[in-house]
Symmetry: C2
Subunit: 246 residues, 2 copies
């Protein structure tokens, strides 16, 4: 189970855009055009927003909740390629991909998304060089994250990948202790980390015995995060805390 | 071993740029500026061009040969994040990453690279919106490839990943037969596919028995590529031939 249910925070669209890297430093008129075209929608868990191959008429910004991006293989297996929390954007890339989504998107928790017309982004990016530069910056950041993920899938063990996942959402206390709530279902975490659920369970047990992790339901406790750091980050080319993965 | 050694093809810099997606549709003066700033260099196998974290003063276009992009973990394991053949560019991304390389680059075969000043790209991209749009297109394509790679590392088996690798470099004859030369060392292929060398050997043997692959040195033969396609592409969300992975 994910975090205890809470009513979604409602951040005004204008503020959400102001905080979004894509809209940083743009002229007020342009931002206002996006605000005016925005549609805020609340979706229940399980709702499929679009499927891989669908025509991309919109792109999305998550106001609250979680969205799963995935693809299905020909033989019916689902590959979870990302899990996005609030503040994240998705589907904007399709304007460079013949206006087709290259993945499917499904709502994982009750989620509020802001929907914008792709056509507005496509038109604006030709007219406003700063928007193109912002998008390059955002895409470059994403490329770095994906590259790190490929590195981890290639060389980290399953317990190390779980350790890395936990460290990225942990906020260590001055004493070194960490207590955290798993942000979404364990099955989904396993899929997001590229593991079968049995592998995930075995790997979590190994983490418990190797670094003294205590897992109670969706709550994880570790008395000393530096143990976890040594365990996971030794098999990474970056150093903790790795800003680019947050 | 890789393909039989041959003298590197020498493609003139101007032609190489004309064929590069990044320079597509740019005004002749701007392309000429890059041609004038280009330095062509021939490097032997094993030469390290730069290390992760180095200041990025240049970016590179491969004229002939192979370049390995990699990172080293704290405990000394090497993760091969890409193997690039001629026509590919690398290091250009650093202008969005505080001018630091986020990976290391090493020459894998005798290789001719064209070196350009990063500063020229950084300056030009602010002044020429078309260059920014071209870079967005290129980055978007790369993001799609990485995303597919994450999918494969997450859900494909080791023999399926090797099958996919072979299909991407194969050119099936009308009869359905394929004969191909492995483009570089088997150890490097294993590392590029995120496998230990023992896993690679076992997976290759499984491919031999499951789809009748014949491997002689660096030559691979398969009497019917559709068998290989069924084997590997069933566990992929794309359909063969998958243009975005070429």
């Amino acid at each position: 189970m994910a975090q205890p249910a809470s009513s979604p925070r409602t951040i005004p669209v204008a503020q959400l855009l102001a905080e979004s890297f894509l809209f940083h430093g743009l002229c007020a008129d342009l931002v206002q055009e996006f605000v005016a075209a925005a549609q805020v929608k609340l979706f229940p868990k399980g709702k499929v927003l679009f499927l891989q191959g669908d025509e991309a008429e919109s792109f999305y910004l998550i106001q609250s909740g979680w969205v799963k991006l995935f693809r299905e293989t020909l033989d019916g297996t689902e590959a979870v390629i990302d899990m996005l929390p609030s503040g994240h954007m998705f589907g904007e890339n399709a304007i460079f991909e013949d206006n087709q989504f290259s993945f499917s998107a499904e709502i994982s928790e009750p989620t509020c998304v802001v929907q914008f017309p792709s056509e507005l982004l496509h038109r604006s990016i030709q007219l406003h060089p700063q928007l193109a530069l912002n998008m390059l910056n955002a895409m470059s950041r994403h490329r770095r994250q994906q590259s790190r993920e490929i590195e981890h899938l290639s060389i980290q063990s399953a317990p190390q990948r779980i350790g890395c996942f936990l460290l990225r959402i942990a906020q260590p206390a001055p004493s070194g202790e960490i207590t955290l709530h798993l942000p979404y279902d364990k099955l989904l975490i396993a899929a997001r980390l590229g593991m079968r659920s049995e592998t995930f369970s075995r790997a979590l047990n190994k983490l418990k015995s190797d670094v003294g992790l205590v897992v109670t339901g969706s709550t994880v406790y570790c008395s000393d995060y530096t143990k976890l750091k040594r365990y996971a980050c030794g098999a990474c080319s970056d150093e903790y805390p790795c800003e680019d993965l947050r």
